[in-house]
């Protein structure tokens, strides 16, 4: 936790900034610690322990703006650092658009830092032995593949970790970590706010080899702000299932297919939209959503909320880096763009109404073209019938100015609602706006451990190359 002395030092920096010639300033102290135990093939491979503290300092001097940070927190060092920072700021050109947010927009209800219930005091009591136990107890064990594979094959007995039959495990890396993060932010207009959170995480990456010597990798992870709700035991079997299901990929003819994209990767089709809604890109004409505010751009089935004030959920926040209070609200409603993300600087520059600087915890609501909500991936595959299920996006990009995208994918061909075979070395290409106008369905299966709650999605007529 942030101590009284650290809070006092942070407030003192405001006074130092004023002494150095800053008419306005914002000081933000972050403090975190992290402990990690990783395993390789069932043995502890690495232990890491770290603590971080850093001050970020934003100065407004004679209409000029500068942003600084340091982790040298000795008071004497800080005084020199802030004086030099003010001197550098005065060398820059004036910018009348730079300012602190208006006091009536800043957060008032983040007093203790724990109001969002994502700080678990259990973090303070975990011992090094417990950390080792978390890491070692969740190593993939023989017989770990409890669920049937995606391809419906009887995987129990199909292969063993000893490599006796169809496939063998080449390597398995697991990683347990726990961390806490605290933020104390003040500004010269009276802002005082706190945020505290914890996170317990476990992930596995493994490589298997089939009888032909071909390698396949699988990975899975989970995270929770609460130790009680932390479920690391689910990770190993899920990672193994992902690897085994990829054995025997086949080519697939280029053409237009129905795309079903798994909730683990579907956020990659939302990220380009979030980037284009950033007021900075709009102002630079580097956004395919410039002039889209208030217009119906996407399919009416697209409803994207931002839910930053979801208590108990990973990534929830009461305020952004300017100290502006967050609120739960609609970003895209029935396909209509309701919001750009406009910080104080961009609001002054563009005349747009200021908002939080960015989306915090977006959630895409479930929807289906026929009105019947299908929550899971399999229900959506059943609904679509034929197509390609994408389970991984391995690279690619989207042009922010035009919305044109190209992504390399990995996944499965499905026919009549059943997965037929894995596919690799394929690409999807198109335009983000056109893609979202062809939305068929959005499920309700996003895992809460993700900060972006984007479910399994389905789109018609997507170009696949292979």
């Amino acid at each position: 936790m942030i101590t009284s002395a650290e809070k006092a030092l942070t407030r003192k920096c405001l006074a130092m900034a004023a002494e150095a010639g800053a008419q306005k300033a914002r000081i933000s102290l972050t403090k975190s610690s992290m402990n990690l135990v990783s395993t390789l093939n069932g043995e502890v491979d690495r232990v890491t322990s770290c603590q971080d503290r850093s001050l970020s300092i934003v100065l407004f001097c004679d209409g000029r703006y500068g942003s600084y940070s340091t982790n040298k927190l000795d008071e004497g060092d800080l005084r020199i650092f802030i004086r030099k920072a003010a001197e550098m700021t005065l060398l820059l050109a004036p910018d009348s658009c730079r300012d602190l947010p208006a006091p009536d927009r800043t957060v008032k209800d983040a007093v203790r830092g724990t109001e969002l219930e994502i700080y678990d005091p259990a973090f303070e009591t975990i011992t090094p032995e417990q950390r080792r136990a978390f890491a070692l107890d969740n190593v993939v064990k023989p017989g770990a593949l409890r669920e049937p594979s995606l391809l419906g094959k009887p995987v129990e007995g199909r292969g063993s970790l000893s490599g006796a039959t169809d496939w063998k495990l080449i390597s398995e890396e697991g990683e347990y970590s726990d961390s806490d993060f605290h933020n104390y932010i003040v500004d010269s207009q009276g802002l005082v706010a706190m945020h505290s959170e914890t996170s317990f995480e476990y992930g596995t990456e493994l490589t298997i080899e089939d009888e032909g010597g071909n390698k396949y990798s699988g990975g899975w992870w989970t995270a929770s702000p609460s130790l009680k709700e932390f479920r690391p035991e689910e990770v190993g079997p899920a990672a193994l299932k992902e690897a085994v299901d990829q054995i025997g990929p086949r080519g697939c003819r280029s053409g237009k297919y129905t795309l079903v994209i798994d909730s683990e990767v579907s956020q990659k089709l939302v990220n380009p939209i979030l980037g284009a809604l950033n007021a900075y890109n709009v102002q630079q004409k580097n956004s395919f959503l410039a002039d889209a505010l208030g217009k119906k751009v996407f399919h009416e089935g697209m409803n994207l909320m931002d839910l930053p004030r979801s208590a108990g959920e990973l990534g929830a926040k009461y305020f952004d880096s300017e100290g502006v209070a967050t609120e739960n609200h609609s970003v895209i409603e029935n396909g209509v763009v309701r919001e750009y993300f406009v910080n104080t600087f961009m609001a002054n520059k563009t005349g747009l109404s200021p908002t939080c600087e960015d989306v915090v915890r977006p959630r895409l609501l479930p929807w289906s073209a026929d009105g019947k909500i299908r929550r899971t991936r399999q229900e959506i595959i059943d609904y679509c019938g034929d197509g390609i299920l994408v389970t991984d996006i391995e690279g690619g990009n989207s042009n922010t100015a035009t919305g044109d995208f190209s992504f390399a994918i990995q996944g499965y061909r499905f026919k009549k609602g059943k997965v037929a075979f894995p596919v690799r070395e394929m690409l999807i290409t198109g335009n983000i706006v056109t893609l979202w106008q062809n939305l068929i369905a959005a499920g309700d299966d996003a895992r809460l451990c993700r900060t972006k709650l984007i479910p399994t999605l389905a789109f018609k007529d997507v170009d696949f190359s292979g």
């Binding site: 043995e43 502890v44 491979d45 690495r46 232990v47 890491t48 322990s49 770290c50 603590q51 971080d52 503290r53 703006y65 500068g66 600084y68 940070s69 340091t70 982790n71 040298k72 650092f81 030099k84 920072a85 550098m88 700021t89 060398l91 820059l92 050109a93 910018d95 730079r98 090094p128 080449i170 390597s171 890396e173 490589t207 390698k215 990798s217 280029s254 630079q284 004409k285 580097n286 391995e394 690279g395 690619g396 990009n397 042009n399 100015a401 035009t402 044109d404 995208f405 190209s406 992504f407 390399a408 690799r424 070395e425 394929m426 690409l427 999807i428 290409t429 170009d463 190359s465 292979g466």
Partner: protein, 467 residues
Amino acid sequence: MINPLHFDIDPARLPELVAVALRSGGDWCDLFFEDTVYTTLLLRDGEVSSGGSHVDYGCGIRVLCGEKTGYAYSESTEWGNLVNAAKAASAIANSNSSYLQKDSHNAVMAVNSMKKDWRESSASEFVPVLQAIESRIRAKDTRVHKVMASLAWQVSEILMYNSLGETIRDTRPIGSIVVTTVFVKDGKSEISNASRSFSVGAEMITDSLLDGLVEQAVRGIDERFEARRPKGGKMPVVMGAGASGILLHEAMGHAFEADFNRKGQSIFSGMMGKPVARKGINIVDDGTIAGNRGFCRWDDEGTPGQKTYMVEDGILRSYLHDRISAKFFGVAPTGNGRRESFRYNPIPRMRCTYMESGADGTLEDIIASVKKGIFVDQFSNGQVKIGEGDFTFYVKSGRLIENGRLTMPVKDINIVGNGPRALADIVAVAGDLRIDDGTWTCGKEQSVPVSCGIPSVLVKQLTVGGE
């Protein structure tokens, strides 16, 4: 008195700190002290009205016990905090072996190679540089809507000490200029990116450097407005000299990093000494090119920078090693143990990865040999799956090749392939090797500066995304 080690630590106590870290045993301990100052200036909307500086200071302590690692760091060099970090790193070991203290006689002090030290410059010197970039770009093309240009420099003071009693001091500069230009024509926008980055001081800023950046910013913009997506599918790909070196980085370089091979994860595991490419092809990872973004006088474990032939005359000759993998394979470290900062333990990383020039004529000769294919020369991000060897990279611009001639401009496409297959499928290598000096950063677990290069090459077949 100025401390020759730069850091606020008594040199005589470094062996004592190592002894604390090795109190429970272990084969190796190293200390990595870092004091980095990072400064930026940003031109936007015609004014250099944003800037800042950032200080990162601390010490990372690593204990190796066989192939296992204990790691901790402290953001303070106060003795008590360093001892706590050393104790945390010692947790990896559990024997009672005793560490024999060494005297730190073997000390190497680096000279500051900067001709003009960034830290002795004022930000006001560089404001006109960014303004000149914008005005020159605007003078070249009337369709320029916005120019955003940033100049960033960082200087890291490094002190390494290890359980052999070796002390190494290094001063590491990096300067970078990045220019993003938005062009508008008939209501449509196109973006160009240009960058230069070197491990040198402020002497990097010259008229010819700015000319090169401006030329890159406006080059090919007519084609980008005309460019379309090609029909996708498998086809021959001609990769232009320079930035196409991303092919080597993604498709081969990562798979040659020895940690992946030590764990049996890489598709190249078990291929040492075997042919992986056509005879005559040499692929190098080089930390010795002075001023290059991937230059390493020493790596972050104190191993001297080297030029490492990964593939020589088509044969796989060496992986890229840190100390752990070198010991595992019974070879000498290759100077590839690198880390983002004192907050991270070093792992095998590339430096400047390139293919040496070949003897298959010129780029024009290679294009003339292709009946139907694609030529690519500008890229952004890439990615690879180490086990499967499947790689992808994003092509910002290129052209179709039809009957041996460049035709329709193309853009915003992805190319995918498989590393070993693509390497074996390089069927022509021109004699025009060029190292690309852009701001390449590799993101394998940690971010480190790298660079890449390649002569113009023909890959027999790759999958190109399209309509």
